[in-house]
Symmetry: C2
Subunit: 387 residues, 2 copies
């Protein structure tokens, strides 16, 4: 295989250094202090690429911690900045500065939804955009059609369902640093729920499942302003059950013990979640998951190995004793094989290569050509690393 860009280890095992820009959203720092999926993944990927010797510039909020060169258009993460009412200006400032210095990078990797599309149209051949959010939004298809030249990455194959015709270059599943968590023993005697209190993640179902399975439940979750009423009226009354413990939002340092000591993670989602980061965080701690068959769940969870995939609260209740029989060492091993940050970085480097080959050898791709290339014609890297 030819390797014009020197992305692959040569005979001496040396990978040629690339100049890479990673562009994170500014809502959370990289990594986030507490909750925050996208910025967390960008941070893991950035530090891994630095470790591999690449020259990486991270566009992120000023309170980010990184070994890459940090370019910050704002001092603090915007979610925690009470002065900030409109996040768009800071994103525009970051994108403008990047556009002015685009020549200094071999590849520019965006994690900023579609915000950068208009500004980077003429640079499409050296960009890759990971879409981190749900894609079943009515206003997204016109955007993806208009900017059909922009190379896209999905974080699960399920995520693509609403727009299978978009310009997909591959699926790359998220990964975590292998040393972030050690395997836990799962002997805390409780079930775990982690993340956010909101209707689509069904904390009420988690409480019902734990109660009917006869086990305590510990909930580590934030409550966004938009979900305040839901929390007050629907969830808070359920927290009076003495076997339910609500500990609020927790950070990385507490997460290992919280997940590692849990008998299982409950993931009773009621929406097509594009990638459940909590699932692989549990696996990294050797903890089995009991997850509803929605969105990316069947791609992430190996039924009977790393967890149990269920279709109802009844099935979830029945799954609790089964989950506790799963081999925690095997779960941790599957995490290392499938969801390490090393695997994620390799997948992305391969896609950087694919973009650069197409961007420099082909003519500027027309919108219609982009729209014609469907989901079946691309390279679903994530899937090939699956099982």
């Amino acid at each position: 295989m030819t390797d014009p860009f020197g992305l692959w280890p040569n005979a001496s095992g040396i990978v040629r250094k690339m100049r890479i820009a990673q562009v994170a959203p500014l809502y959370e720092s990289c990594p986030p202090q507490l909750y925050g999926g996208t910025e967390r993944v960008v941070s893991y990927l950035t530090e891994q690429l630095v470790r591999q010797g690449h020259e990486v510039t991270l566009f992120a909020s000023g309170d980010s911690k990184t070994k890459a060169t940090l370019q910050a258009p704002c001092a603090r993460a915007l979610r925690l900045d009470t002065q900030c009412r409109d996040p768009l200006p800071y994103h525009f400032i970051a994108l403008h500065r990047l556009a002015q210095s685009a020549d200094e990078f071999d590849i520019i990797h965006f994690h900023t939804d579609y915000l950068h599309f208009p500004l980077f149209v003429r640079h499409w051949g050296k960009t890759l955009t990971t879409l981190h959010g749900r894609l079943d939004l009515p206003d997204l298809p016109p955007m993806l059609r208009e900017f059909a030249m922009m190379p896209l990455v999905s974080i699960s194959n399920a995520q693509r369902m609403p727009v299978p015709w978009a310009n997909w270059y591959g699926t790359v599943y998220h990964g975590l640093p292998s040393n972030l968590y050690a395997g836990g023993c799962g002997d805390g005697g409780y079930l775990a729920y982690i993340g956010r209190i909101c209707p689509e993640k069904r904390p009420d179902w988690a409480i019902e499942i734990a109660r009917r399975a006869g086990m305590p439940l510990t909930i580590a979750a934030k409550v966004d302003e938009v979900d305040r009423t839901y929390h007050e009226t629907r969830i808070k009354p359920l927290l009076e059950d003495p076997r339910v413990d609500f500990v609020g939002e927790i950070g990385d340092s507490e997460k290992g013990a919280f997940l590692g000591d849990a008998a299982a993670l409950l993931f009773p989602i009621d929406w097509p979640e594009p990638f459940g980061l909590a699932l692989i965080e549990a696996m990294a701690n050797g903890t089995p998951v009991i997850a509803f068959r929605r969105g990316s769940v069947p791609e992430i969870v190996e039924h009977g190995v790393t967890g149990l995939i269920v279709d109802s609260v009844d099935e979830a209740v029945a799954a609790v004793p089964l989950a506790r029989t799963l081999d925690r060492v095997a779960i941790r091993r599957r995490f290392e094989e499938r969801f390490s940050v090393g695997r994620m970085a390799r997948d992305y480097l391969a896609l950087y290569d694919a973009v650069l080959r197409r961007g420099t050898t082909g003519a500027v791709m027309s919108s219609s050509a982009g729209a014609r290339r469907g989901v079946n014609g691309d390279r679903s890297l994530g899937r090939s690393h699956g099982s």
Copy 2:
């Protein structure tokens, strides 16, 4: 005076044709079907420039009505489109298409806040941006500093107060087609309130003023979703007064009779409104205004000629009989002299000229140069047309 761009009438009174892009927001059509200030002004300006023989392309929603060439990224105005949840993609599509065809225009006039700044940095020397909104927002100054090369227009001098150091090229007051309204007789026997029900426009004060002045009040206003609770709890109880008539949102065809028959327009604002379009709509009907001394009011209203400027509800009550003594013919005449669409178009053409001279003769202006030029050094066209 040299005239390299041929913007001024030559000896035969002929103005050389310019290729002008007008870029409207997409929330309302141009003109709006009902309420909507910015798109209304863009529409008036566009049609006037077409009438003067310029080659105008209007970027606006597909349900706009114009004699210019219409470029529409969406079929309908977004505020009335229940399918639309995120307005940004459609604005991005419009700006992208415009950027691709920027060479086809001599001048590009934006009315889209700061949305176009990153994409048109390299075209700054052929752009003009009218900022239509309030400027005392905490996230705006970083944006105006980063994009200090973009030529800006204010719609009143008062509007600039929070950012006097920005790259102002002038103030241009809004204007209306002179034939839109005829002078009314003001013999309806009622006071008028028009616009939006919201705390900062103080419809409650309008009701109090009318009650204490012993006159009926007619309210023609929309209620936005965000103001629903305010309307239900604070205003609706006041509407039980039989002398207060709430007629909801009205269109252009009804507005003439509504304002023309009114004894006076009450404008008891409690915020620094950048330009009160209703004030000049009233003047166009010969109707005096009673307006609070906030924001642009002292620039628009000539105290004792076109209305009365007051500082309190007490003063407003006392002003009602005085307002009825003002000469309605003189009010209409001052409207024609100061707030016609012809005057607005002349002001803007002069600023297009100023931009083109600086954009082509000067080097690319540095950000610091832009930031140094303050409010006193520019050409405040609006003021010179004032009195």
